[in-house]
Assembly symmetry: C2
Homo-oligomer: 112 residues x 2
DNA sequence: AGCTTCCCATCGCCTATCGATGGAAGTATC
DNA sequence: GATACTTCCATCGATAGGCGATGGGAAGCT
């Protein structure tokens, strides 16, 4: 394990946002979401399944997503999650808030 | 309180970074740090003292900062925190890591 | 038969933030 | 010289969210 780049945790509070964003183009199953995040982020974002599934439960409970069982591309039993209209609104709201906070942090980091 | 902009929490995990960054130009006391963050961020970052002091304890314990008692500008008893060399290194490291993660998140937010 | 990959899910720990609370010391007001 | 406000310190308890460890089952390859 001589290689440098550590897996790195993600910023708490952003997981919901990331998951919702993943579902924007269409339904996905949990495993797929994790893979996608890892892939798109070039292995920076390593979302463990023990983080992901509780998050999905949360989203379900809040009505941001709905779930239904189906078969995966590989013909396996998989649970597909889909954004609800409320979920879309939530996503928009969280993106805004995220931008707001990040902007504020940047100001601090770049202040005199 | 009719105005819209909610106080908004900050991203957990970034507090140390923000505090360290605040101390980069020179020593400050706790209250001053909180005020500065609020001011520079245009009231977006509202760091409560109950978040701040534990954070400072943490930084002390890790040797990122040192503290000494003195008198504030208003002639009050105040504890001034100063960055140590290790603290400077830590700051640099956390900035890098932060950039890395933020970059990754942006990629996700902007993906197809 | 055994191994790997895919896909689900939970439990318990730990850490960090937050609201509430409290106190002491200066400054201003009347 | 009493009252009140601001500055500045600090802790405690509740809460939440992510993570490591763990477990299982089904498909497919060798």
């Amino acid at each position: 394990m001589g290689s440098s780049t550590k897996p790195s945790d993600l910023l708490p509070g952003t997981l919901d946002l990331l998951v919702l964003r993943c579902l924007l183009p269409g339904s996905m199953h949990g495993y797929g979401i994790a893979s996608r995040l890892k892939q798109v982020s070039n292995d920076v974002l390593q979302v463990g399944e023990s983080s992901l599934y509780p998050a999905l439960q949360r989203l379900l409970l809040n009505g941001w997503v709905k779930a239904e069982w189906g078969a995966s591309e590989n013909n396996r039993r998989a649970r597909y999650y889909t954004l609800t209209p409320a979920g879309r609104r939530q996503l928009a709201s969280e993106r805004e808030e995220f931008a707001r906070v990040i902007g504020a942090i940047q100001k601090v980091l770049e202040m005199a």
